[in-house]
């Protein structure tokens, strides 16, 4: 997987390289063409000069009328030559060609202008040549310069591309980060992205609308749960009052009284279930405030005051091994109390006499972690997988249990961004850990 901005930069680099390669490939041809055009123009210019000179001073200074030899002149470096000779030509010559000349045992390619003209009935041939060696030198130099120039351009644009694409794609990364940080639709960060790119604004807007829609559906579902729960509580209340009134009757025989009490117990379970569902629905629809600031150690102390008598009676020792100064902010104290109480109480229930429960704390990079470890019967992986699911599995077989306590614990933890982890070995014991978020 490659990041978009890397892909864009790579594509830019590749297209530039291809362009450069093509350019470099056709460059010699272009330079040659330009050079030859340039050379031809110079040769024509020189021809005009020579013809002009002859028309002024006559042909004599260059060539004897009767001599069979012509006039020839080379410059020292053999870059150029000029020759004038009598010629018997069938037609007029006026063309430029490339031809080899052997000069001092050296064959040199020349661009040669051939021009025929007549003076006093005598035909003459003028040849002006320019060495192509000097042309190829120039070509190579130009090639080098252009190559270096293009490569530097490519390098510079690669760097600026990387920088620029990172800049323009920053809103996209921002949106991705926002999505990653969204555990439930309602928590989606509604602050719009700061960008001038309309695509990103559109993307952000569409995601926001989608989140709102999903959240609305979630809320409706929660509302239904809450409404059903309320509707259920009134008949439960009627039944309860009626049964309690019967139980208060004087002269009630013992057998009936026991049955009434049994019915009240069942009703209590029903009430507990409804209230637990209500509690979870309310937590999940965020009807609780997170405005408390408190010391977690003090809260643990309060939980232990509740549980110690029960643990002591069951022959279980609870050891406190936690830091005494753990300030928690932006939390709901009574929910956190429930969460921790549920887990410690579970540990007490699942630990046989002469067992031990250790409550400890540690800091994980500015975050508090509370662990409750017991020497109880432990759990298999199978049981652990179902641990936080509502009604999936009743962990203890007690008549009073509704099997929803840990589901409540989980929703309280999620509500606060607390991470729960469970380690357990059958027959050895269980460790529940709560990792509090950094901002708390």
């Amino acid at each position: 997987m490659i990041k978009l901005r890397t892909k864009l930069a790579l594509f830019n680099l590749l297209s530039k390289l291809v362009f450069t390669a093509v350019f470099i490939a056709v460059l010699p041809y272009i330079i040659d063409r330009i050079n030859i055009l340039q050379t031809d123009n110079e040769l024509i210019g020189k021809r005009e000069e020579v013809i002009d000179l002859i028309s002024r001073v006559g042909i004599e200074p260059f060539i004897n009328k009767d001599s069979i030899y012509g006039f020839g002149s080379y410059n020292i470096l053999k870059e150029e030559f000029i020759s004038l000779e009598k010629a018997k030509l069938e037609s007029d010559w006026n063309f430029i060609e490339i031809s080899k000349r052997l000069i001092d045992d050296e064959t040199i390619d020349y661009r040669v202008l051939n021009y025929s003209f007549k003076v006093d009935g005598e035909a003459y041939l003028l040849q002006i040549g320019k060495s192509l060696l000097s042309i190829s030198h120039t070509r190579n130099n130009i090639k080098k310069v252009i190559l270096i120039f293009l490569l530097s351009i490519i390098l510079i644009t690669l760097i600026t591309d990387l920088f620029y694409t990172r800049r323009i794609l920053r809103p996209l990364e921002f949106i991705i980060d926002k999505l990653k940080a969204t555990s439930t639709p309602s928590l989606f960060d509604k602050i719009p992205v700061n960008t001038t790119t309309s695509d990103f604004i559109q993307l952000d807007l569409t995601i926001r609308e989608l989140m709102d829609k999903i959240d609305e559906l979630f809320q409706k579902e929660k509302e239904i749960t809450i409404n059903i729960s309320h509707e259920l509580l009134t008949p439960v209340s009627v039944l309860r009052s009626r049964l309690e009134n019967i139980l208060l009757q004087k002269n009630l025989d013992e057998e009936t009284a026991l049955k009434i009490e049994e019915s009240l117990k069942t009703l209590h379970r029903l009430k507990t279930l409804v209230n637990s569902l209500l509690l979870i629905a309310r937590i999940e629809s965020r009807q609780y405030l997170k405005e408390d600031t408190f010391n977690l150690a003090v809260l643990l102390g309060e939980v232990l005051i509740e549980i110690n008598p029960i643990a002591f009676d069951a022959g279980i020792i609870i050891q406190s091994d936690y830091e005494l100064d753990m300030l928690i902010r932006n939390a709901n104290k009574s929910l956190i109390f429930s969460m921790i109480y549920n887990v410690i109480n579970n540990a007490v229930r699942n630990t046989p006499p002469i067992g031990q429960i250790i409550i400890s704390s540690r800091r994980v990079a500015c975050r508090f972690e509370i662990s409750v470890s017991d020497t109880g019967k432990g759990m298999t992986q199978e049981v652990m997988d179902l641990l936080f699911l509502r009604f999936k599995k009743k962990l203890d077989t007690r008549e009073d249990s509704t099997g929803i306590g840990l589901a409540i614990t989980k929703s309280i933890a999620d509500f606060h961004g607390i991470v729960i982890s469970v380690v357990s070995k059958p027959g050895k014991g269980t460790i529940f850990s709560f990792l509090f978020p950094e901002n708390s």
Binding site: V238, N275, D400
Partner: protein, 226 residues
């Protein structure tokens, strides 16, 4: 004492009335908000048990109405909607207490008693329990003028049983009274047994406590003939 029960669920209103009558209250019933509003305007009540989830009326408006008419009757709100907001709103309007459905009738009774004590400045007499003396006001249990050290929970438990003396209280009723609703799911009948056991242990180091009875299969009772 005169009590008006405002509750649209007739059978619930009937059960509450039956219970309160057995506790020597004079009860009146209103099944709708309009009926209640008329009755409150005409009659003098000491207490109004108000279900705020009435079909025709926002129950909380009845409180504001009564206060506007300079009626200082005590309201105890009953609701199936256990929302904290409702509770705060009701208490801000001047309600005296708040009960979530389904509540125990004995709990209702003890709330009424508590409001009555506050309202009429009744200083509760100390209650003699065998060789012990329970001072409700100062929350102290005395034996020969020496305090018997009880934990807060143990004291709450004993006091609740004493205030409902001669009635059998079930473990759930006791649990609810002491731990409320937040730990609903953690209800364990054993909790109450352990605390009662501890209370008895503490009492018995001083003197026997036959008045704190276990009613087999049902719960506990404080029997007191005085």
């Amino acid at each position: 004492m005169n009590v008006l029960i405002v509750e649209d669920e007739k059978s619930l209103a009937g059960e509450i009335a039956a219970f309160l009558k057995s506790e020597n209250f004079i009860c009146d019933l209103a099944f709708t908000g309009i009926e209640a509003s008329e009755k409150i305007a005409v009659n003098l009540y000491d207490f109004i048990l108000l279900d705020i989830g009435l079909p025709d009326y926002n129950g909380l408006d009845l409180i504001s109405e009564a206060r506007r008419n300079k009626n200082d009757v005590s309201f105890i709100i009953i609701t199936a909607r256990g929302e904290v907001e409702d509770k705060v709103k009701g208490l801000n309007l001047g309600a005296d207490d708040y009960l979530a459905k389904p509540f125990a009738l004995v709990e209702l009774n003890s709330r009424i008693q508590a409001v009555a004590r506050r309202k009429f400045h009744i200083s509760t007499r100390s209650i003699i329990l065998g060789e012990f003396l329970l001072d409700i006001q100062s929350r102290k249990l005395l034996y020969n003028n020496n305090e018997v050290e009880l934990t807060r929970k143990e004291h709450d438990l004993l006091q609740y049983l004493v205030l409902n003396q001669n009635k059998v209280l079930t473990r759930q009723q006791l649990y609810e009274h002491i731990w409320g609703n937040i730990l609903d799911d953690q209800y364990d009948s054993n909790f109450i047994d352990v605390h009662i056991k501890n209370v008895r242990k503490k009492l018995n180091t001083h003197a026997p406590s036959p008045w704190l009875e276990t009613v087999r299969g049902i719960g506990y009772r404080v029997s007191n003939d005085q």
